[in-house]
Each structure stands twice: as C-alpha cells, then as structure tokens.
C-alpha cells in the first residue's frame, strides 16, 4: 500500500527539513471476538502521515476503525502489525518506561467531557496532573502554569477550585483541552471532541481548538464522523471504510472533487442546512448496511454497497494510490483514472 505524501501549503518549506511528526505504515489491529476464533478486523492496513503543525481529519462511520487508529497511535491498544513512528522514533513496541516519554509527546482529547474528568478532583488538580506525573513540576509549583493554561482555553483562574460537576459541557471540554495541552505535546489525538456538544457550544470549542493549534503549532489527528467539522478544521482528510483508508487528499480538493464512490455518498448523505439547496441536490442513498468487520467482503470492501461497482471490484482489492495524476490525492478505487471518475451521484434518491 502506498503512503500518503500530502504536504499542505502552510509551512511547506519548513517541513522539507523535518520528518513527519507521525508516520503510520501498514497498521493492522485485529481483535478476538467471542468464541470460535472469530476475528474483528478493526483496522486492516492503514498508512498515514501527519506533518508538523498539520491537522489530519480522519473521517468514517461507526465501525470504520477510525478510533482504533487513534488508540494505536496513543498505544492505548497494542497494534497487531504495522509500524508507528513519532518524530522519527519507532514507538510500535515501546517498553513501559519508553511509554512514559511517549505520554509527554502525544495527548488525547476525548469525546465525552463528562466521563473523562475525575469527579473527585478539582479542575486545578486535573490540569496539573500531567505536569506532576512527568516530573515537570511539583503540585505546589504547577499553579502558575495551570492558571496560564486555563487562560489559554478561556477559563478564569477561579475555575481552578471548581469540580467537574459544577461546569457546563463546553467548560468541561475546555478543561480536557487544557489537560491535554499543558505539556505542549507534539501531537494531539482528538476523538470526536465536539460531538456531544450543542451547536453553539461546539462553535466556541472548535474556534478554540483552531486558535490553540495555530498558536501552539501542535499536529493533530482529528477523528470524527462529521464532515462539516473537518471541512472547517483540517488541512488534509482521510476517509475510512471497514478498516481501510479509501481516499485521502487536501481538504479543498477532497470536498470539491471527491473521487471514491463512498466519499461521494458520505458527502451527499450529510444534509445541508439549507432547505432549498438540500431539496434540489441529487443524493446517493446507499443500499444495505455496512458489512461486519468480522467478514469483510472480498475485493473492494465497499463493493457490496457501491452503486457503480463492476466485476473486478468483487475480486481484486484496489490499492490506495494517486490515480488522476494530481499529486497528493490518493484513492482506492479501480474506477478512478486520469480520464474518468465514477459518479455515484448519477443514482438519484
């Protein structure tokens, strides 16, 4: 499988001399499921890179394996195969001791701001915890840094003495961000960080993430099911289906000219908040349900639901590669070539 080699315009010259912050190649994660030796192929050969200061949006529906990729990168789960390099260092099989330093460089922002904060700790203690754990500062000396970090996420110093249950959902997610960023990690894995929030709160948290990312310059693996969120925030997008990346490319190109029929379906299925436009546009309604990752279909995994699949798709798995001679836009579909594109949108809802 070929690797994405995308480089966003921003900071391009600077990155020439740098290794990518994150480099995942051939990542596989299989889980044993129940008895009878069943195997869930949650992630099945994923390769991706994230450059310095780059935001990669990893998009997919439930069961696509997007969160498992995040967990493997954080080493919260042991990859079955493949290699993960962080800042040029192989972290695939780090020892417990090695993991400690990893925990300084990579942090996660969880989806649920209610269950990811310890209800018995004050906000001050929650945010100071990474500093203390990594021996950067004693609890007593951490106060100034905590106050400064809380300020960066838009919370006043008085928040230090509050408990999570006293805060709103948006404030809790800000606390989660402060805890993740206080060690100034190189990479932040954000797993659906705004999905549990209301629209108006989501807007302020997304603005905050965008601001912090610009100011602090961390790289970000942003995992979400919501295309409109990555369209706003990400430099580059990777779309997953049944454990594999089916398409990856720069944000603008992927949204303007999606190549994979699944990406086309995903974009057209997300309703536009504009009744006139929404009722005018043609949509792809995919038949059936996503197949089980225990028994992924042969050939292209999407062929069972693909409106334009041909015989070859049922037997031969397509490689993720640049098919239209347009640089950093990669697609895993036999039907995409330099002179043709499959058009799933021909099938009207």
């Amino acid at each position: 499988m070929s690797e994405p080699q995308a480089r966003p315009k921003r900071a391009e010259a600077q990155r020439e001399t740098h290794e990518p912050v994150l480099e995942v190649s051939g990542l596989v994660k299989h889980y044993a499921a129940g008895e009878r030796g069943k195997v869930v192929r949650a992630v099945d050969g994923v390769s991706l890179t994230i450059g310095e200061g780059e935001v990669l949006g990893l998009v997919g529906e439930s069961g696509s394996g997007k969160s498992t990729v995040g967990k493997c990168v954080l080493r919260l789960t042991e990859p079955t195969a493949g290699r993960i390099r962080l800042g040029g260092r192989d972290i695939t099989h780090l020892s417990r001791r090695g993991m400690r330093s990893l925990r300084r460089d990579v942090h996660i922002v969880f989806q649920d701001p209610y269950s990811s904060l310890n209800p018995r700790f004050t906000v001050g203690r929650i945010v100071a915890e990474p500093l203390v754990r990594h021996g950067v500062a004693r609890r007593s000396a951490a106060a100034d840094r905590v106050t400064a970090m809380l300020g960066k996420v838009g919370l006043g110093p008085e928040t230090r003495d509050r408990y999570p249950h006293e805060l709103s959902g948006g404030q809790r997610q800000r606390v989660g961000l402060a805890r993740s960023l206080i060690l100034e990690p190189k990479l932040v894995v954000a797993d659906e960080p705004v999905s549990a929030l209301d629209v108006s709160v989501q807007a302020s948290v997304l603005n905050l993430i965008a601001d912090l990312q610009r100011d602090m310059g961390f790289s970000c693996l942003f995992i979400t099911h919501d295309l409109s969120v990555v369209e706003f925030l990400a430099d580059r997008i990777a779309v997953m289906y049944l454990g594999q990346i089916v398409e990856t490319g720069p944000r603008d190109r992927l949204f303007a000219a999606p190549e994979h029929p699944y990406t086309q379906a995903l974009l057209s299925a997300a309703p536009v908040p504009d009744p006139a436009e929404q009722r005018r546009r043609s949509r792809v309604v995919l038949g059936g349900d996503p197949p089980s990752p225990v028994r992924p279909p042969a050939g292209c995994r999407f062929h069972t639901r693909c409106p334009v699949a041909v015989d070859r798709c049922r037997t031969e798995p397509p490689d993720l590669m640049n098919r239209r001679l347009n640089g950093d836009h990669l697609t895993a579909c036999h039907l995409v070539s330099s002179d043709s594109l499959p058009d799933a949108r021909g099938t009207r809802a």
Binding site: A203, D226, E231, P273, E277
Partner: protein
C-alpha cells in the same frame, strides 16, 4: 381545522430544588400529513413539549397545564386507561435509542405484533403477517426471516427501522420522532428519513420531529419551531425560516454551523456568547436578551410576544433581524 392543537401548554417538574419549568406556554398546531420540526439545543424543552402529547412524562412529578386536542378531543382530560388506547394507536413515538427501547428478550415479530394485538385485536397469525408487511414497509430485506430475530442480531439502522415499524403498526395519525437519526450514521440516516417521508406521503401520517440537527430539519420538515428556554421563539415554513430567519437566536444557530463558516470563507465560527438561563426562574423579559447582539433596554422590560412577521412566520423578538442571511440560497 388542524389535526393536533396544543394551546398554552406549560410543563414543570417538581424537584428538591424547586419547580423546574421545562415548557412555558407553548402553543402549536399540526395539520394532517405535515412534518413539523421542534428544534433547539439541549434543555430547550423540545422533547418535553412533544412527550406531553402522549403524556409520556413521570406522572408523580409532572405539573402540566394548558390544552392538547387531537381531532377536537381533549387529551389532557383522558384517564390513564383511556390514554393507553391513544398511545400506539392515535399517537406513537419513535425514540432516539433503538437498543434500549426494544425488549432484548422478545423477537422483533413479537414486539411488532404486540401493538397490533393490543389495539386491533388481531390473532397471532394475523399479527405475524402484518408484522412482515410492516418490516417490508420500512425497507428491511427478507422480512419473513427477520421477524424471528432478536434486537441484538440487528444493526443500529435496522433496529431503528423496527422501532418505526412498531410505531406505525396501527397507522397512527401523529408520529412523534425524538432524534430518530441522531444515533445513526449519515448514510443510514438518509434511508431512515426517506421512510418518514414515504409514510407521510402514503399514509398521511403527521410527524413531529424533535431534533437539534438543522440539516435534518432542512431535509425533511415542512415547518419548524425553534425553541429557547422552554418557549417558541420562532416558527415558520422551513424555506422561509432558513432564508429569512428573524429571531437573533435562530440566526445565531444557523451561523454557528461549520458549514456556514466554510461557505462564507470564514476562518472562525460565529459563536453565541453566554449560557442558557437556569430553568427555575421565568422573568418577564426576553430569555435570550443576555446573549443577544441586538438586545436593547426594552427587551428586559417585558417578554416579547410571538408575533407575525410575514405569512405563517412568527417570531418573539422586539428587534428582529431584517436582512436576508448570507450564504442561504434565495
């Protein structure tokens, strides 16, 4: 005359901390075969408003006032036993979470048949045959074998279809759908929304759709009511509402969407500052005024009434937004 009429309905819940005033003086009407969206953010009262119709609220703590009529019959005057005849037959509900709303110990066919046996006195065999038809109606392939399966054997999208099949089994006149697609993936959501559209077209079912998703509202609703802090702040046919929103809260919600920023080429999302007021108080003022960019002194002097701002367009605002929203298709 409209099918369902709700007039000046208020719902409070007695708690240790006092009366939580979830809904305050809501009025709405629903026509035959109309899809009405109740939208707004968490805690705005949209679910409580809708669930007051089949009275699916905790009886001991709920304080309900106002009138709710279905075909001229006052539902609030019904006894609990009479209400049981209404639920599932005249008014039925599709809940957000299909896994917790289906009984894991009974087959899908039994659960669909149950409502038919209860309301239509069908035999087991006749109920089973109808269950197969209903599964076909909601687009489940191979329905004859699916009715023998248990909920855990089905995917999330299939379970939600089964919930819809149960809800429409007795051809209800009003279907209440509470965030019916929120737990589903977008490619599955599109199919489920098509089922609702189809039910309305074929059976004339009137639907109250409770959702926070303004994309779903744009897709399927005929009319929408935007709620804030227990009250309707704006109501209009959806094309009108999105093209010419008058209430600053509606404008704020539409502009806060990432799609709005992307479409306008903005690098920042429009935020709505501040927080929703606590549900214990109800001052005689506009509840949105403390967060409103257009608020003036008169907004806190008295509560603005829901007034007409054009054909079928109501808004509760003293200083409504006049301009056509940028980014909306005219």
């Amino acid at each position: 005359m409209s099918l369902l009429e709700m007039t000046d309905v208020s719902v409070g819940f007695a708690t240790e901390d006092g009366l939580v005033r979830a809904v305050k003086g809501m009025s709405l009407s629903l026509a035959h075969a109309e899809i009405l969206a109740l939208c707004g953010e968490s805690g705005c009262g949209k679910t409580v408003t809708a669930m007051s119709i089949p009275r699916l609220l905790p009886a001991e703590t709920t304080r309900l006032s106002g009138s709710i009529t279905l075909d001229g019959r006052d539902l609030t005057a019904l006894s609990e036993a009479e209400m049981r005849d209404v639920r599932g037959k005249d008014v039925s509900v599709v809940f957000q979470e299909p896994m917790t709303s289906l009984n894991p110990s009974f087959t899908v066919g039994f659960q669909i048949g149950e409502v038919l046996r209860r309301h239509e006195d069908l035999s087991r065999a006749a109920a089973r045959a109808r269950a197969v038809d209903l599964l076909k109606l909601v687009g489940i392939p191979d329905p004859a074998s699916r009715i023998k399966e248990y909920p855990h054997q089905l995917s999330g999208g299939m379970r939600q279809r089964v919930m819809i099949a149960i809800a429409v089994a007795c051809s209800p006149r009003v279907l209440i759908a509470d965030e019916p697609t929120t737990a589903l993936d977008v490619t599955i959501q599109a199919g489920v929304l098509n089922i609702f559209r189809d039910l309305r077209d074929r059976l004339g079912t009137a639907i109250i759709l409770i959702t926070h998703d303004l994309g779903v509202v744009a897709d399927i609703a005929d009319r929408a009511i935007v709620m804030y802090a227990g009250r309707a702040v704006e109501a209009a046919p959806v094309e009108e509402l999105y093209a010419r929103p008058r209430h600053p809260y509606t404008v704020g919600l539409l502009n806060a969407l990432p799609t709005a920023a992307t479409a306008a080429g903005r690098r920042r999302l429009a935020e709505i500052p501040g927080m929703v007021p606590p549900p214990f108080t109800d001052p005689d003022a506009c509840a949105f005024a403390p967060r409103c960019p257009r608020a003036e002194a008169d907004c806190t002097a008295a509560r603005p009434p829901l007034e007409s701002h054009g054909a079928s367009h109501l808004a509760a605002c003293l200083h409504p937004v006049a301009a056509v929203r940028t980014g909306a298709t005219p």
